[in-house]
Structure formats: C-alpha cells, structure tokens
C-alpha cells in the first residue's frame, strides 16, 4: 500500500471509529462507493481494531518509568514545602531530586528521595517521627543529615536529606586517580563516620559506594543513614533481615543484594558487624576497582549462595601480577579485607574503628592485628564447606600425601628426603591454594575438581622421582576409589605399578599397597580372578613375615574377592584369620577390627548364617559408633549389613529402621550419585517390596539403577542385581510380562559377569522361572527352576534357606500342573528345611505350610490341610498385617477346606473375611477374586441359599466371560450345574 492510499484508509477508519459500532459498516459502504477494495481494507482494519484493544498496551521496553517523565511536561514541581529542581538519579528505592525550600526558610539545597509507590510505608511518617530524635542527633561532618520526611498527596512517601554535591567514592577515587594511601585515608574517614553512627545506635544496613559521595573538597559524606531501617517492613526492625522473598518480590528492597551481608540474606540479626562487612566490600572495591563477588547475571538464589558461601578472592589477586600495586595490597591489606568479609559476623572486626585502626597500623608500617588464616583454619573451613564424604576424601588426600612424605623420610638419605618432603608439601599447598576461588576462575573448586587438578599435575610434577610420583599416584587413585571414580583411579594405579616395578630398593609395603589398590580396582570392575591373583600376591609377600598388619590388609581383600566369587567357606576362613590378626594387632576396639567384623558379617550372610551375620554386624556397628559417632560411612555400612541379616531372619521392621538410618547418614555424607547410597536404596527397596509399599520400593530401585548404570560399566553385576529386584517389584504389581523382561535382562548380565556357579545367577534364574510360570510357559519355567535349584545346592549346600525357597517354587509349579504327589513331596522337603533354618514361626515356614495345605485340599485331604493352615494364618496376619493379599488368599483356602468338610457356617464366615481383602488387592477380573466368588456361591448353596448362589455365579460367569477367564468360567458353569 502506498502512503496516499493509506491516508485514504486512515481517514475513513478514523471517522468510522467515531461512530457507534452498528453504524460503521453502513458508513464505510457509503463512503467507499464502488471501491470494494478500500471498503474491505477499512472494514478489516476496524475488525482488527476491535480485537487489538490489549495489543501493545504494555511497552515492550520501558525507559525511565514514572517520576522523571511525569515531570517532563511542565507539571507541578512542588512537593510539600519543597520545590523540585531536577532529578539527580534513580535508585532502587525511587528517584532522587534536587530541591529547595519553597518558602525560602532554608537556603541550602536538599535532596529528596521520592519513593516508589509500591513501597509499603503506610506508617513511614509515624516511624520517621520516632526515629527523628536519633537521626537528628547524627551530626557528623561525614554524614549527610536526614532532614524531613512525608508523603505526597497521592500518598507517595519521600525523604528529605542534606544535598551532597559529589561523586560516589569509587568513581571519585578513579577519576582523581587517588594513590593507595589516599584511598585508605579516605576510607578511614568513612569508617569514622560509621563508627560514630554505631555509637549512636544507628546501623546503616545499606552501605555502598553510591551512598558515599565525595564532595569537591575531597570529604566523604555518607547518605541514607537510618533509611534502610526506616523503610524496612515492621518485622524487619530490631533484628531480622529481610527474607529473599521480601527483597525480590513486589515490595522494595531494604538493602542492595550485591552489598548485603550473609546475615542479612539469612534473615539473621543485623548488627554493626553488618556495616563492617559492607565496609569490607567497599575497601575491596577501592583497592581493586572491582566487586568482591561477581554476581552479574546471577539469579537471586545464586547471589545469596555466592554471598553466604563463597570466599571472595584476595584483593591482590585481581591486580596485575608483578605490579607494585599488587605488592602493596598483598599481605596486610588482603588479610584485613578478608577479616572484614568473614561470613560469621563475630569473626569480623569488632567495630568499624577496629578496621580503621588496623589500616592505620598498616599505613604506619606496624604489624596489623588481623592474622592471616592459618593453614589449619583454612583447611578446616575447606573441609567444613563440603559434605563429609567428599571432605573425608580431601582429608585423606592431604594426610596420605603427608604420609608419603614421611615414608620417604624414613627410607631415603636425609637430604634427599628433606627435598622430597618439601616437594610433597609444596604440591599439597599448591593444590590447596588452587582451591582459592581467584585461581579457579572466580569460583571455588570442589574437592573433586581439586583432585582432578592433582591427578593432572601428578603426571608431570614428580617426573624425575618415580618413587614419589608413584606414591602420589597411589594416593590420588585411592581417593578416586573412595569417590567411586574407578575410571580415573585405574590409569594412575597402573602407572604407579609400572613406575615401581623396576626399582628394587623400593619398600615392599609401597609396592604391595599399589598391588592391593589395583586388586580393589579389579574387584570393583568385576574381574575377580585378576583381583584374587593380586590379593594372593600381597598375602604371599607378607605371609610369615613381621609385617602382620600388611598381612591383615591383604587377607581382608582376599576374603572379599573370594566372597564375590561365591567361595564363601574359603572367604570365611580368610576373614576370620584377618579378624584374629586385627584383634591381636590393634586390640579389641579398633577400626580394623570393626572392618574385619563387617566383612565377616557379609560372608556369614552369604553362607546363610543369618543370626551369626546379624551378631557380627551388631558388634561392628557398636564398635563403629563408639569409634566414629553416628555420621560415618562405617556406621551406615554396618547398618546395611545388619538390615540384610535381619531381613533374612524375617525381622523386617528392625531391618527397615536400620536401612533408613543408614540412608540418612549417607545422604549427609555423599552426593546423591554415590554408589553406597545406591546400594542402600537397593536394599531398602528389596525390603519394602515384600510389604505393600511397592511405590516407594520401585522409586528407590529406579534411583539405585540410574546411579549404577551411570557409575558402572555396562554388564556390571550390580546393574543386574537391581534389574532383578525391579523385576520382582513389577511381578508384585501383576506386571508379569514386565517382570519377565527385567529378569531376563538381569540374567543376561549376571550370567556372563558372575559365572554359572554364582548364587545370584541361581537367584535370577529362579525369579525368571517364576515369571515364566506365571506366563504359563511351564516348560521353560521348570527348566530354569531346576537349574536354579542345582545352582543353589552348589552355592549354599543342602541346608540353605534359599534352596528351600527355590524348591518351594518348584512345588508351586508342580501343583499348578496338577502333579500333586510330586508337589507335596517337594513341599515336605521345603518344610523340613525351613523349620530347621528359620524355625516354626517364621513367615517363610508358614508359606510352605500354606502351600502344602493347598495341595492336600486338592487331593481331598481337607482335615490335614486345615491343621497346617491354622498354623500358617496367624503368622501371615502378624507379618503382613490382616489386610494383606496373602492373608486374603490364605483365608480363601481355609474357606475351601471348611466347605470341603461341609462346615458351611464357618466357611461362610471365612470367605466373607477373604473377599474384601482380595477385592482390595487384585483387579476386578483376577482369577483369585472370581475363584473366591465361585467358592462363596458353593458355600451359599451348602447353606441352602441356592438362589443367592445362582445369582452370584451368573454374575461371576459374566465377568469371567467378559475377561476371557476360561478357567473360572468353567468353574462357575460347573458350580451352576451343581446347583441343579
């Protein structure tokens, strides 16, 4: 459209728009005559206009909202008794105007702070009155006075202050190119003013460069004293700081985030130390020209965490290296700034004066009172900032490096050793210093990054001293192992071994330590044969020698790898040896004893000696608690061990408590991705899935799986274990197909990873067989099951409860295939095994009784069945709770048995208890529910209520047909025929 045409359109559009909407169309038609195109153009524009009411009604970008512009057009410039002159600036709270008294009663210029409307200051004026006395008393040459306060006619609050014609202190220093000494002198004047205010019980709370102007005479003036407090919401006064919400929400910010102190951000009491912190930030800026914290582009949460947690860099490090300005700031001034900026208010200077005095001492060349952080203080803080697990790794890193140095002192020429010690120390110190944020590109290194840095440097740093390099590599490798970063540990340990191999003089201990670390690596990677070989090498090196401690270490490792291979007896032998050694070497209350006990417990568990395992775990746990306190990996570890044993013993409540406690401990210790947490989650999931808490169990198992998949190589047995567990959970959720797939995947991992003989393989086969059987693939199921039974016998011997479990499953299968005699025989063997290993009251024993009862019922021996079932039922109720599906199923069987014996009244009572439980636990058309309904009908018939029975059977028949339940359909039809 050209502009001429557009003008035509516009003219018509404007006129039409003046009209009532109903008249517009007619007008346009008339006005455009023959020009249809023009009419359409105007019409569609009018239509667009109707819809466009909210289009572009808000600016996309707003320059200078509010006050300066409203006064752009000559409006009223009068504000109370003041005449506004011109705007001075725009701050977080509102615009500042230069003004003078309208009545001429006060000659000087004033600055008026016109606050945003949304500042909730309903009682600002009243509050101003109450503060007035104090603020009026604040007469100091370096403090701008607060003169007056009020509200505009629209209720907009304003504050009147002495006008200072000057530049912000940082700009001033820069534009006047002040020397360091001048800057410090100027800063000390600021301190003096702050100190004066503090003595008058006024805390500034929002000290920053823009609030400190330097006038033409070079004198600083502090603005806004008392303002932050005046403007603070009621609750804020006299203590608490503003919450993050209050600062970032629609309300005003009573402070500026970038200069806020940690206590303000944390809603803790604001004291004079808050101003000291602000002074520290200011000093930082004056020394470096840069802010102490880089918060640009960060979200509020990030800013808060930066200010509350990160250490600012040392000022000198922001200055160009080698320059005199850097040298002048290094040392004292760095230390002073650090002290003013400490996170904890009580660790800062006691007062602004204290800060000022230390600067004075520095200017006079006297030693300053502030002490640089000692190594210990620094290290301690570094450790505290990180969660225990990682911090422990860091501590281990430090202590092992020092240990390495000591080791070398012992075995090498004194001067050479001295050199080594120095080198190790320097390496260590360098590393710690690289934890300084300024070296790490303005942010703090995590221990992990620190370690990565160490790992990188170790390849080059000691290149001319293979022995030292190897021990450093060993150390770092071990720390990686403790952080589950096996991939990073591997190359370091491998290299350490290569370095040491050609050096005959190197201590055997060091060499074997590398061997054992490598063995552990192999163990964790699932390469058990290699691991065993390495551990045996280490055992052989110390067998019969004096270094019994080394022997003990080696034995512990060996037993662990034997256990992993399923060679439990050998493992227990080695483990017991290690335990005895540990006791004789270190006494009964020692970490090593605790570790040995723990290993032994694991082995006992694997052997099926659950009570013994629980005992060992308890001993280890007690020892760990007394040695380390609650929050320690060993405590969590032993709790896990105990829980496993208790689970196997049927004491699930005790087990659950222990696992949850372990999880709490580990969550405090480690990051979420740690394999120990995954292990505990796996165990807890395994426990919960037995109960009715499948959701939590599945969630935990999935979390564990994710971590394990992330951490371990594909095909690692632990991934297989969790997959297997998930399969069990899916099975419990009636997702048999899903369960089958998961178990199949688990088996596909576990079989190659662990070998044919391994117990886990047997377990996975067993579970897969169960799913196969549920899918009615009986042949496949029976084959898997019989394989698993062979596996269990091989792994555990005849007495093991797991064998009984598998035999029980075989019994179930045989029973399903109506091979009742064989089934009963298998069950009877299971019952014998269970009574022996678990006792008569154990739930697993009760399950077998239940199963035998079912077979007996089916083979027409209801009275024998009843005896067994009456023993089982109370155990189920006690163990699972009275509404558990197992109880429902058991009651149904009981009703059947009673019905078989024509004891219909008892039978009815029993089936009425069973039905609601089954309803709650199974889907509508589940075979168990339909079967129970058929049974109920039969009982009703037995009681002579035939019509009721018929109705129920017809209903059941319909349901069975609708869901293709042929078996139940046949049953119902037969029952209907029996009704006659």
């Amino acid at each position: 459209m050209n502009s001429r045409r557009w003008e035509e359109v516009l003219a018509l559009f404007d006129q039409a728009r003046e009209l009532e909407p109903t008249e517009r169309i007619a007008f346009v038609r008339e006005a455009t005559g023959e020009d249809r195109e023009l009419a359409e153009e105007v019409r569609s524009l009018l239509e667009a206009d109707d819809s466009a009411a909210r289009f572009l009604d808000k600016p996309l970008f707003e320059l200078a909202p509010d006050e300066p512009r409203t006064l752009l057009a000559e409006g009223s410039r009068r504000l109370g008794a003041y005449l506004l002159d011109r705007p001075l600036g725009q701050g977080g709270m509102g615009a500042v105007w230069l003004a003078s008294r309208a009545d001429g009663s006060y000659q000087g210029k004033v600055a008026i702070k016109l606050l945003h409307r949304d500042i909730n200051t309903s009682n600002l004026v009243a509050r101003f009155e109450s503060e007035r006395q104090i603020l009026a008393g604040l007469q100091h040459p370096h403090i701008a006075r607060l003169l007056d306060g009020g509200a505009t006619e629209e209720g907009r609050p304003y504050l009147v202050m002495e006008f200072v014609d000057g530049d912000p202190i940082d700009t001033y220093c820069q534009t006047h190119d002040l020397s360091l000494r001048d800057r410090l002198e100027l800063f000390r004047k600021v301190c003096g003013a702050v100190q004066f205010a503090h003595q008058n019980l006024v805390v500034h709370r929002d000290l920053k460069a823009s609030n400190i102007l330097v006038n033409r005479d070079g004198e600083p003036k502090l603005l806004d004293f008392g303002v932050a407090k005046l403007l603070a919401p009621e609750g804020w006064i006299g203590g608490g700081g503003a919450t993050a919400a209050a600062m970032t929400g629609t309300g005003m910010a009573p402070m500026t985030l970038s200069v806020a102190s940690p206590e303000q951000l944390r809603n803790q009491p604001v004291t004079t130390a808050t101003d000291v912190h602000a002074l520290g930030l200011l000093l930082f800026r004056l020394l470096t020209g840069q802010p102490a914290f880089t918060i640009e582009g960060q979200s509020t949460e990030e800013i808060i965490s930066t200010i509350c947690e990160r250490e600012p860099p040392l000022p000198s490090t922001l200055l160009a290296p080698g320059t005199s300005s850097r040298r002048l700031v290094e040392g004292d001034l760095d230390t002073i700034v650090r002290k003013a900026l400490r996170k904890k208010p009580t660790r800062r200077f006691v007062s602004a004066q204290g800060l000022s005095e230390d600067l004075e001492r520095h200017l006079l060349g006297l030693p300053v009172r502030s002490r640089p952080d000692t190594f210990g203080y620094r290290w301690g803080k570094f450790v505290r900032r990180h969660r225990w697990g990682v911090a422990a790794a860091a501590t281990a890193l430090a202590s092992l490096l020092l240990f390495t140095a000591l080791l070398l002192v012992q075995q090498r020429r004194v001067d050479g050793a001295r050199r080594s010690t120095d080198e190790v120390n320097r390496f260590l110190t360098d590393l710690l210093y690289s934890a300084d944020p300024h070296i790490a590109k303005g942010r703090e290194l995590t221990v992990r990054e620190l370690l990565d840095a160490a790992a990188l440097r170790v390849w080059s740093d000691f290149a001319d001293q293979p022995e030292l390099q190897a021990s450093a590599m060993l150390t770092i490798g071990k720390v990686y192992q403790s952080l589950s970063e096996f991939e990073k540990a591997g190359p370091l340990l491998q290299r350490a071994q290569e370095l040491l191999a050609p050096l005959p003089w190197v201590d055997q201990r060091l060499k074997m330590e590398v061997v054992r670390a490598l063995a552990k690596q192999k163990l964790l990677a699932g390469e058990y044969e290699l691991a065993e070989q390495l551990y045996r090498q280490s055992v052989a090196a110390f067998e019969g020698g004096k270094e019994r401690e080394q022997l003990e270490r080696s034995l512990v490792g060996l037993s662990a790898v034997l256990a992993r291979q399923g060679r439990h007896e050998e493992a227990v032998t080695q483990s017991s040896r290690a335990l005895d050694l540990a006791r004789s070497l270190f006494g009964p209350r020692h970490r090593r004893v605790e570790e040995s006990l723990n290993s032994l417990a694991v082995l006992q568990y694997s052997q099926g000696a659950y009570s013994e395992a629980a005992d060992s775990s308890q001993q280890a746990l007690d020892l760990a608690l007394s040695l380390h306190g609650e929050i320690h990996p060993s405590v969590a570890n032993n709790l896990n061990g105990m829980a496993r044993a208790k689970t196997a013993l049927g004491e699930s409540e005790v087990a659950e408590k222990a696992l949850r406690r372990a999880l709490r401990i580990q969550e405090q210790l480690y990051e979420d991705s740690h394999t120990d947490i995954a292990a505990t989650r796996h165990n807890l999931a395994a426990l919960l899935f037995e109960g009715t808490r499948l959701d939590e169990a599945e969630a935990l198992a999935l979390q564990a799986l994710a971590v394990r998949r992330d951490t371990y190589e594909e095909g690692h047995s632990q991934i297989g274990e969790t997959l297997d567990l998930l399969g069990l959970i899916r099975y419990q959720r009636h997702d048999v197909r899903g369960a089958y797939d998961l178990h199949a995947e688990a088996l596909a991992i576990l079989l190659p990873a662990l070998g044919e003989e391994h117990e886990f393989v047997a377990v996975a086969r067993h579970n897969l067989s169960r799913a196969a059987i549920a899918l009615e693939r009986y042949t496949e199921g029976e084959k898997l099951l019989r394989q698993s039974i062979v596996g269990f016998r091989a792994a555990y011997g005849d007495e093991h409860p797991q064998l009984a479990f598998a035999l029980n499953s075989l019994g179930v299968l045989l029973r399903k295939q109506e091979r009742f005699a064989q089934a009963e025989e298998v069950y009877r063997e299971v019952l014998r095994l269970r009574e022996r290993s678990l006792g008569s009251d154990h739930v697993a024993t009760a399950v077998v009784r239940n199963n035998i009862a079912v077979v007996l019922q089916l083979t027409g021996k209801p009275s024998e069945a009843e005896v067994l079932l009456r023993q089982a039922l109370p155990v189920f109720e006690r163990t699972f709770g009275s509404t558990h599906r197992n109880v429902g199923t058991c009651l149904k069987t009981m009703a059947q048995i009673l019905s078989d014996q024509e004891r219909y009244t008892e039978a009815e009572e029993t089936i009425l208890r069973a039905l609601p439980i089954l309803q709650d636990n199974y889907p509508e058309a589940h075979g168990k529910r339909l079967g129970a309904q058929v049974l109920k009908a039969e009982i009703l018939h037995g009681l002579g209520r035939t019509e009721q029975a018929r109705e129920l059977l017809n209903q059941t028949l319909r349901m069975a047909r609708a869901h293709g339940r042929t078996k139940e359909e046949a049953k119902a039809q037969e029952a209907l025929r029996n009704l006659g």
């Binding site: 466009a52 512009r69 725009q90």
Partner: protein, 191 residues
C-alpha cells in the same frame, strides 16, 4: 573500548554538552547506544520474570545521566527519545533474530514488564519489526509513535508533545497503526 572507559567518555561528553557544545550529543549517541546494548544484553541474558524491572533501573540510570543532569532543550529531548526508541527496537529485534537463528522457528517470548508473572504475552519481535518497516514507507510518523510507545514506554501525552502534535491526533494515529499491525501480524501468522 571497555565499559568503564565508555562511561568515562559519556561523562566527558555530557559535560561538554552541558557547556553548550551541541556536537557532543552526536558523539554521545553511539556511546550511549553501546551502553544500552550492553545493559540490554545483561537484561536479556537473565530472562527471568523476577528480574524484568532491574535493567530498566539500569537504563534509567543512564537516561538520567543524560536527561537529568543538565537542562535539555525541547529538540534535544525529542531527539534523545526518538533515538532511544529506535535503539531499543534494534537491540530487541537483534536479540530476537539471534535467538531465532539459534532456535529455529521459535519467536522470542517477550514478557510485558508489569505482568511478567501471570500474563506472558507472546510477541514476535521480528514480525513486528518487519511490519514496522512496511509501515515506515506508508507513514513514518506512525512508526515513531509505535516506537516511542513500545520501546521507551512514553505516555501518549508525552509522545504528542515530543512529536509536536495534538493528543487527539497522536491517539488516532496510534489506534490505526495498532489495528494495522495487529491485522498484519495475525495475517502473517495465519499465512
């Protein structure tokens, strides 16, 4: 030139301008544009609703340094606002184009300042910019009004004064331009 040097230079030019050196304003503008760009970049990097007000405060600071410090004559003020509006438009559109090239077909979602929390308003800045270019050929004054309204947030009264037209005229021009843009953008969407 780094930002602090820029700031220094801006201060110097402002002083010169305040002393009556008209040329200073011309030199000032590119620097201010750079400064605005820098601020706007910060602004848009964040793109968090809770932060939408912060950069306006920053831009305002700059604005106040320009407008507030010295008396500004009418012509200069109009000049300044027109300049600011065009600059902001370009910055925002550049940003939107940058985003579009990195994320194909994904128009910038611009949040109106006041209602950032509850009423995100989707605005295809590139389409808007294209439409404005078309409108420029038809009636440049309408584009100035849209720019001043949308990219500096001036009120209609202020726009009228700056453009030296009556408020009624400004309102009329605004209404027709807005309707045309609305139709244009919606047709584009449909097409």
């Amino acid at each position: 030139m780094n930002p602090s040097q820029d700031a220094h230079e801006i201060t110097r030019l402002l002083d010169a301008w305040g002393d009556g050196n008209r040329w200073a304003l011309d030199e000032l503008m590119p620097l201010v544009a750079a400064e605005l760009r820098r601020l706007a970049k910060n602004y848009m990097l964040r793109e968090r609703p809770s932060h939408t007000l912060e950069p306006t405060a920053l831009v305002n600071e700059l604005y106040l340094r320009l407008v507030g410090r010295r008396d500004m004559n009418w012509k200069d003020r109009a000049h300044f606002f027109a300049f600011s509006a065009t600059t902001m438009r370009r910055i925002l559109v550049d940003h939107a184009r940058g985003k579009r090239t990195s994320k194909r077909g994904d128009g910038i979602q611009w949040l109106p300042l006041d209602e950032a929390m509850d009423q995100p308003q989707e605005m295809d800045l590139i389409a808007l910019d294209d439409a404005l270019k078309t409108l420029e050929a038809m009636r440049a004054r309408q584009v100035r009004i849209i720019e001043l309204r949308c990219f500096t947030g001036l009120k209609m009264q202020e726009i009228a004064e700056l453009l030296e037209i009556s408020l009624a005229t400004a309102n009329r021009e605004w209404a027709s331009a807005r309707a045309w843009l609305y139709r244009e953008l919606n047709m584009r969407e449909r097409g």
